[in-house]
């Protein structure tokens, strides 16, 4: 087992110091200026929008990624972890957003894998291991059979295992990346108790969360990040939710996203009381011809799930979806396409393209049935059908025969859009239209969406980029934990309002001292 934790010698050496840490993935600069200083005996909140670079920063500290530049010191010493094993051995425990468990192994083995207690002959001491697991669970106040397999555990229970694992590491620094997302109120309270007792032992904790009430209830210091860079660090006692939100979103909405006003026509899509147990609840909205409706919210709030249910990829429990007044059958994407819906998914490489297939084949893939001559689909028919669309979207037509995999992200996205435009839809649902796309192509995609709306198409756009939503959407629907928490008109929608609506919680744990404010729907 590990040596018992010894708090750092007095004199205020921070547990963790990051200064100007940088990290790029290809052309994408995920982290420009990662700066974070965590004192021992402190719970430090790290907040920022989606894509602000928090998770990248955590993964650099944990040794998952290596930094490109900048300083990283742990307990006063400069370190350069090349693997998670190294950071773990140094005394850093990380609870990731997604639980990482071995489903085929017992709960206990999941906690102690790689560092099981041994007895004579280097054999694993199972009795001791189960005993330790039981006492960990007792400390966390949960009832879990240490011998059961991890397979089939609820997300909350999986998260508990992660926490138990981190605690058993006896680490000097514990990083929690949104640990409460799947927990109920009472479980959150338990977690907070444990976190406070770890703090009182002189350890440093980093707490990443989108829930302001929890941040204010638990943490003493907060660091705000934006667009991959450090913004500010301050004691929580000296700040307010409003001030933090302003720091998180503090940037101007540029002219990058020109949505031209289009005449708004009849209702095309009408969703009423859509509910899928545990995913989203009572979602109702309308989209009219010529209108772009933005679905904003945090990653995991249920935006994509709502879109998938409307299109019929996923089923739902209650509610109706109507297109042009006629009800669309649930869980039947084919009939949704026939009715005039198109869906550009979030992950274009996996869900939107046959990456090995040619560009022409991809574009023609949805309309294929109509292209057949005597039941045979020829390459030339595919080329004929896809040519005009490719030209319209400025996909290089010389590329029609190339495999889609060889194209840039921006061109791939255009191919996916072209594929759906070939079906002449009345409603286009587009999930993260410009993720991973360079700035120039981004503008093209935006202009295209704007043009399509101008021609009378109804568009639902899901985006995690606030400026994109605010620039493009005629109306913004904010989704928070599976519900629509606010509906804001274009003139009304400010970054602050959207952020607040996206992070508010109606049924959180009691949080004395919280200054959470709620925005009423416009």
């Amino acid at each position: 087992m590990n040596e018992t934790f010894q708090s750092a010698p007095e004199g205020g050496v921070p547990v963790l110091e990051l200064e100007g840490v940088q990290k790029s993935f290809g052309a994408v600069r995920a982290l420009r200026d990662g700066t974070l200083i965590v004192q021992p005996g402190s719970i430090h909140a790290l907040i920022g929008e989606n894509g602000a670079g928090k998770s990248t920063l955590v993964k650099i500290v944990a040794g998952v990624h290596r930094r490109d530049g900048g300083d990283l010191r742990f307990r006063g010493e400069s370190v350069d972890f090349v693997s998670t094993a190294e950071s773990k051995a140094a005394g850093i425990a990380v609870i990731y957003q997604e639980p990482t468990l071995f489903p085929d192994l017992s709960v206990t083995e999941n906690i102690f894998m790689g560092r099981q207690p041994l007895r004579g002959g280097r054999r694993i001491d199972r009795a001791a291991m189960h005993e330790e697991a039981t006492s960990l669970f007792r400390r966390l106040g949960v009832d879990l059979d240490p011998r059961r397999l991890a397979r089939g555990l609820s997300i909350a229970d999986q998260q508990i295992i992660e926490i138990a694992k981190a605690i058993s590491l006896d680490a000097a620094l514990l990083i929690m990346d949104e640990p409460t997302a799947a927990l109920s109120g009472i479980e959150v309270d338990r977690l907070f108790q444990v976190a406070r007792s770890l703090r009182d032992e002189g350890r440093g904790l980093v707490f990443i969360s989108h829930r302001f009430d929890e941040v204010f209830a638990l943490c003493d210091t907060v660091t705000v990040m934006r667009d991959g860079a450090y913004v500010a660090t301050q004691p929580l006692a000296d700040t307010t939710v409003d001030a933090l939100v302003a720091q998180m979103v503090g940037r101007e909405v540029g002219e990058l996203f020109p949505k031209t006003a289009a005449p708004v026509g009849d209702v095309v899509l009408s969703v009423e009381g859509l509910t899928s147990a545990g995913v989203f609840t009572d979602v109702s909205f309308e989209v009219r011809a010529g209108e772009i409706v933005g679905l904003a919210g945090l990653v995991g709030a249920g935006r994509s799930e709502i879109a998938r249910a409307v299109f019929g990829v996923d089923s739902y429990d209650r509610g109706t979806v109507r297109l042009g007044g006629r009800e669309v059958r649930r869980h039947d994407p084919r009939s949704a396409v026939r009715a005039g819906m198109a869906f550009v998914p979030e992950d274009r490489r996996k869900q939107g393209l046959v990456v090995e297939g040619s560009v022409a084949r991809n574009i023609a893939s949805v309309v294929r049935r109509g292209l057949r001559t005597a039941g045979v689909l020829t390459g030339s028919a595919e080329n004929r059908a896809s040519g005009p669309w490719a030209a319209k979207l400025q996909v290089k037509t010389s590329a029609l025969d190339m495999p889609a995999a060889t194209m840039s992200g921006g061109n791939q996205q255009k191919v996916v859009i072209a594929k759906w435009l070939a079906t002449e839809p009345r409603l286009l649902i587009i999930d993260e239209p410009t993720r991973g796309i360079d700035v120039g192509t981004k503008a093209e995609v935006h202009r295209l969406l704007s043009d399509l709306a101008g021609q009378g198409m109804a568009i639902v756009m899901i985006s995690s980029e606030l400026p994109e939503v605010l620039g493009m959407a005629d109306r913004v629907l904010v989704v928070c934990e599976g519900r629509i928490s606010a509906e804001l008109d274009r003139s009304d929608a400010t970054p602050e309002k959207v952020m607040l609506a996206a992070t508010r919680r109606d049924a959180g744990p009691a949080t004395p001292g919280s200054t959470t404010q709620e925005v009423q729907p416009a």
């Binding site: 790689g114 280097r122 400390r139 009832d143 089939g152």
Partner: protein
């Protein structure tokens, strides 16, 4: 810190848990089928069990496949597969013969060690290619299956090792018994016990399960994934090398066809014995019983008067039944768990 529990611990007694676990265990199910098969065949022809050769063959015939299935299980648990073991077995069997032909006085244990070391080297090649080449093991070992077989053909040509080339002390191993149990079977069972104990009780053994269960999570845990996968292939290769020596001792003659196609039987035995082909679960005990069952079925069906064609089909049906059973059980378990979570 409060120590009160939110919910009382579930009151399943240890005895009930053990009994319940046994009833659900795949090993017991396959073992029951094996016993039933032996009983039925013995009723039809009591020589199957109750003649001196019948009992000996029952224990002796499976020992080759048993050793291979043990090694195969170690690899499959890590979500890989080793198809090259048949060729490794052949090469090692021929090596055994050549060693005795070229050095007549060589002590038998030295030859055993040579076979094991030789197999381990071939396994190391597989392991290096799989864990550092980042190419699926199915493809790599399919390649080495042909390469090793080709090397064997080039080396042996039309030459073959005959029983007369082998020292008596060595070929006697094929028929010798200890307390009524064939020596080769004892060797196989000892190997099985060692590997089984290692997988259950050593950290490295448990890490093999973890890697197969979720390779990405294993990386995040900081496990040394490449090194462990390499180890699994070395073990599999070494056991295939041992099986080659055993092959020479058992049959006395080694031609270039030795061990041809046996790799798929080894995979089949593991699958029948409950080793999940996607890694992470299963035991060598199950694989061993699966090997026993596969071999015994092949010997029992002719006695039961079933034609050649159906013998192959029965083996296939057994594999499909085993997989279907797994799927069914896991679906049922999932439903139960979902209901439990929805409470």
């Amino acid at each position: 810190m409060s120590t009160e529990m939110l919910v009382q611990p579930s009151a399943t007694s240890p005895t009930r848990r053990v009994v319940g676990g046994l009833l659900r265990s795949r090993e017991i199910a396959v073992f029951t089928v094996l016993v039933a098969l032996i009983l039925v065949t013995t009723v039809k022809n009591d020589g199957f069990l109750f003649s001196s050769t019948g009992f000996r063959d029952l224990l002796l015939t499976p020992c080759l496949l048993l050793i291979l299935a043990t090694g195969q299980t170690v690899v499959i648990i890590t979500r890989n597969v080793d198809l090259s073991v048949g060729s490794t077995l052949g090469l090692s069997a021929y090596l055994t013969g050549r060693l005795f032909v070229d050095n007549p006085g060589l002590p038998v244990p030295v030859v055993f060690l040579a076979g094991i070391a030789f197999g381990a080297v071939l396994g190391l090649v597989n392991g290096v290619l799989v864990s550092w080449g980042k190419v699926p093991a199915l493809v790599i070992t399919l390649g080495t299956l042909y390469i090793y077989r080709g090397a064997f053909l080039t080396w042996a040509g039309s030459d073959r090792i005959n029983a007369s080339d082998l020292p008596r002390g060595f070929s006697r191993l094929g028929t010798q018994q200890l307390l009524g149990i064939p020596v080769l079977t004892i060797i196989a069972l000892v190997v099985l016990a060692i590997v089984g104990y290692f997988l259950w009780t050593a950290r490295a053994g448990r890490e093999l399960y973890a890697i197969g269960s979720d390779p990405d999570a294993a990386q995040l845990y900081g496990l040394r994934v490449s090194r462990r996968v390499l180890l699994a292939f070395v073990v599999s290769g070494a056991l295939a090398g041992l099986a080659g020596v055993v092959y020479a001792a058992r049959y006395g003659t080694v031609s270039s066809g030795a061990g041809y196609g046996i790799e798929l039987q080894a995979v089949g035995a593991a699958v029948i014995g409950g080793v999940a082909i996607f890694g992470g679960s299963g035991t060598v005990w199950g694989a061993a019983i699966g090997a026993f069952l596969l071999v015994t079925i092949n010997r029992a069906l002719p006695i039961l008067g079933i034609s050649d064609f159906w013998q192959q089909a029965v083996v296939g049906a057994l594999i499909l039944a085993a997989v279907a059973l797994d799927r069914l059980l896991s679906l049922r378990q999932e439903r139960k768990l979902v209901e439990a979570n929805d409470r």
